[in-house]
Amino acid sequence: MIKEYKTISEIVGPLMLVKNVENVKYEELVEIELQTGEIRNGKVLEVNKDMALVQLFEGARGINIGQSKVRFLGKGVEIALSEDMLGRVFDGQGRPIDGKEKILPEITKDINGSPINPFSRDYPNEFIQTGISTIDGLNTLVRGQKLPIFSGSGLPHNRMAAQIARQAKVLEKEGEPITKFAVVFAAMGITFEEAQFFIEDFQKTGAIERTVLFINLANDPAIERISTPRLALTTAEYLAFDKGMHVLVILTDMTNYCEALREISAARQEVPGRRGYPGYLYTDLSTIYERAGRIKGKEGSITQIPILTMPEDDKTHPIPDLTGYITEGQIVFSRSLHRKGIYPPVDVLQSLSRLKDKGIGKGKTREDHADVFNQLFACYAAGLEARELEAILGQAALSDLDKIYYKFAEEFEKRYINQGEYENRTIFETLNMSWELFKLIPKVELKRIRDAYLEKYLK
């Protein structure tokens, strides 16, 4: 028998205090029935003697302290799951908003999940081809990795995320069965237009059939965003580890998520850490990002691409900073490349994939990949140095070699980094393009490539 309380004593911001309660559990799901009959949800943040502090998911607007009823449901926040969720659109709380019928659940799961035992993890080392040269060639993504995009306002991160979702695939080896692939997309506080861009793009390309979307828009309650990524990841875990699919999770925009977290922390009057964000921001973010990975003996995997916009393009802001400490690398966008009209504007030198070494090479991509990577990197860095020199001292100060590198950097940006939004390059095309670019450089300067490969590929 679930008791009903009419003892709300205060509502401040997204928090509600209920008095004289009995047997309330920490993190229990709460249902609030408004005087109008509307039902809202929340969860218990703290229990203290006979008082329960409840966080409201949909905001406090319209709740009447005297007349609203509160019910504690005796379970945590859960989501009903089924394979039929593929192709559907849900709101930030997991309710269908595409006008179709409700999901018939096969199983329900707690949205907080449980950490994967490090002993049971399998190391991510399978190459994912995204068809984007700057990722495949230089910041290789592998199955089970979490690789965020550090972007800024006005940069085309959404277009790139959609392109990855559209094109990502695993190189199939002969004789091996083709594995099922799915995308789980969670939008937190993005605008209607941005959300529409993704939905339309997925519909246009047919990707929608293998996609689950959770959409919390900018004008939806901010607090709802706290659960949106967790709903998405619980769905992803179900598809990956129960159904054996390879799941790509796109979370956008993590900056909005963190701000919602700060809002609750401020309402609870907690001691703030840097820039007013709560001291547990790192721990909280890790409970999201660490839900990527592979498990020994299970077929599926979860690969995460969280997107965040760096306030003022500042990489040391707490959100990108703490994210970088948890994720396995980062793709950083550059405003100056974007201004030059280069898409995707990936700042190659600042970007990094920590797991690339295990995902490239013979049998995975191609034998020359690692050497090509190192050489491209060195040449581009030398080119940028030459460019800097030229900016200060003028063309005349450049040595002949400097001029070559200067030219290389230009060509590299124009041909290698730059590519069409619908251009899907195979890893071999990307590698061959690198060799085309190496033709600009005198052969003796290609020190990082083994002689055998120089002979074989430099034609």
């Binding site: 920490y26 203290n48 035992n117 002993f119 721990t283 498990i295 400490y325 030198l349």
Partner: protein, 588 residues
């Protein structure tokens, strides 16, 4: 003992009343699920408890049982090559019992009580022993003899002791104490993690811990029994440095604490270490390693405990007379766990919300390192080296955790984002890092490496410092404006940086360099410099000198196998030959 009742739940902190019989820092079991927690504050009959597992579903009125003893670890054969969580539960057994995900309320033994170990006595009947004395050993792995010691509260005469196969809970010996009571000695012992294990005397460290990393061993060595910290922003290679040390440091036992870091990194260690061979013994490195893994998404309170669990295990092996090294990655996450608990306890915050006692806790932790004469009738010497990674926000060294750490540690390896950005690894900045052990270990180095080693180090460092001064000038007026001598300095500094300090952790040969090879390599670079300086003074164009063919060989020295060190020494002859040709060309 009386059962308490929960009155408040706030995240990992719960408050229970009716706990007047429990002691501060006692371990408790919370609710019917038996979650493990620890009492961290008492007010009247109300105890504040930090819970080492997720607390969702716990409510007011749930019971709390005190176990009447502080948080302790089990010590005995069976520790090596294990992977534990923050409160010493073996993760492999948890996986066996609960599956791939970590669930709550699991109770698994830290040490297997059923395995029989072959015990070999080292003392005989009638020998006098006291706490800390070795009475025998078990060959735990190929690399580690696990010595069995008398517990610290026992003193007397060996009454009987037998060789044979025993489990850790069966008695292997009997000791008769002053009161003629016979005390059975078993191999298994327990020790509270927050209490440092006792020793007789602490001594000054005098021997370096060689790590096979040239920049560390040459410029910023850490002594066996010393302390070091590695702060740096993300992507600067903290974890790679820690992994390299865990792999190649010449300590006998390694305890690696993954504290609040990535799950995949722990998996990497788990999969890689059994494959890697110890350069001295050729045995898998895992056979001398213990891993403590509390990844960032595992409960935050257990993260706080994990560094203590790790250091207690390390001290235990130190007491056997081993040199032990503990790596903690990262102490910032540990400090953050403290901050979180402190916030929930509503304590007055210090800097950046960290508790006011942050500095005290950090210094207490690092002070557990040291070179000691262990307790017992017979003197043994053991050492514990502690190396902590620090992850300051934005790489900002004014962070309270970095500052509190720098006040106690003696070695500072400053990782620079700039070097990492230029892909110079290990990205240890030679201009800002320091070591305070130079004088302590000078004698050892002169005896074991070479008499002129300390001198060479100073010379190389002077050249690097000169480079940074000259760089300012070059930036303003260009390289051509430098004198020939200074051009040479710039070139030698570049050679030291690129051919010596830069080291590829993923290259099979370059990943580890013995001190002998380091010495010969640096010697060649400096030899070239001196000889070139003579030519420069004889007005031979510096451009020709620094483009000599032998430079290519110098650049590839690091890839020469340890067994072929002669090839490095021979480069000196080539330098002389090529320089002579050059000189002849210009003197005609």
């Amino acid at each position: 003992m009386k059962t308490g009742k929960i009155i408040k739940v706030a995240g990992p902190l719960i408050i229970a009343e009716g706990m007047e019989e429990a002691n501060l820092f006692d371990v408790v079991k919370v609710s019917k699920m038996e979650l493990i927690g620890e009492i961290i504050e008492m007010r009247g009959d109300k105890a504040s408890i930090q819970v080492y597992e997720e607390t969702s579903g716990i409510g007011v009125g749930d019971p709390v049982y005190s176990l009447g003893m502080p948080l302790s670890v089990e010590l005995g054969p069976g520790l090596i090559s294990k992977i534990y969580d923050g409160i010493q539960r073996p993760l492999d057994l948890i996986a066996e019992q609960a599956g791939d995900l970590l669930t709550r309320g699991i109770s698994v033994p830290a040490i297997d009580k059923n395995i029989k170990w072959h015990f070999i006595p080292l003392v005989k009947k009638g020998d006098e022993v006291s706490g800390g004395d070795i009475i025998g050993y078990v060959q735990e792995t190929v690399l580690i003899k696990h010595y069995i010691m008398i517990p610290h509260n026992v003193e007397g005469v060996i009454e009987n002791i037998t060789e044979g196969d025993f489990t850790v809970v069966e008695p292997v010996a009997e000791v008769k104490n002053k009161n003629n009571e016979k005390i059975k000695i078993q191999m298994l012992q327990t020790w509270p993690v927050r209490k440092p294990r006792p020793y007789k005397v602490k001594k000054n460290p005098t021997e370096p811990m060689l790590t096979g990393q040239r920049v560390i061993d040459t410029f910023f060595p850490v002594a066996k029994g010393g302390t070091a910290c590695v702060p740096g922003p993300f992507g600067s290679g903290k974890t790679v440095v820690q992994h390299q040390l865990a792999k190649w440091a010449d300590a006998e036992v390694i305890v690696y604490v993954g504290c609040g870091e990535r799950g995949n990194e722990m998996t990497d260690v788990l999969l890689e270490f059994p494959e890697l061979k110890d350069p001295k013994s050729g045995e898998p490195l895992m056979k001398r390693t213990i891993l403590i893994a509390n990844t960032s998404n595992m409960p935050v309170a257990a993260r706080e405990a994990s560094v203590y669990t790790g250091i207690t295990l390390a001290e235990y092996f130190r007491d056997m007379g081993y040199s032990v090294a503990l790596m903690a990655d990262s102490t910032s996450r540990w400090a953050e766990a403290m901050r979180e608990m402190s916030g929930r306890l509503e304590e007055m915050p210090g800097e950046e919300g960290y508790p006011a006692y942050l500095g005290t806790r950090i210094s207490e932790f690092y002070e557990r390192a040291g070179k000691v004469i262990t307790s017992g009738k017979k003197d043994k010497e053991g050492s514990l080296t502690v190396i902590g990674a620090v992850s300051p926000p934005g790489g900002d060294l004014s962070d309270p955790v970095v500052q509190a750490t720098l006040r106690v540690v003696k070695v500072f390896w400053s990782l620079s984002a700039n070097l990492a950005y230029r892909r110079h690894f290990p990205a240890i900045d030679w201009l800002t890092s320091y070591t305070l052990y130079d004088n302590n270990i000078k004698q050892w180095l002169m005896k074991n490496v070479s008499n002129d080693w300390p001198e060479m180090k100073v010379k190389a460092m002077t050249i690097l410092q000169k480079e940074s001064e000259l760089e300012e000038i070059v930036r303003l007026v260009g390289l051509d404006a430098l004198s020939a001598e200074n051009r040479l300095f710039m070139d030698t500094a570049k050679s030291i940086r690129e051919d010596y300090l830069h080291q590829n952790a993923f290259h099979e040969i370059d990943t580890y360099t013995s001190s002998k090879k380091s010495y010969e390599m640096l010697s060649v670079i400096l030899f070239f410099h001196d000889e070139a300086m003579n030519l420069v003074k004889a007005d031979i164009p510096v451009k020709d000198i620094i483009n000599l063919e032998v430079k290519e060989k110098i650049a590839r020295m690091k890839y020469i196998d340890e067994k072929e060190i002669n090839k490095i020494i021979e480069i000196k002859n080539e330098i002389l030959e090529q320089m002579k040709i050059l000189k002849d060309k210009y003197t005609i």
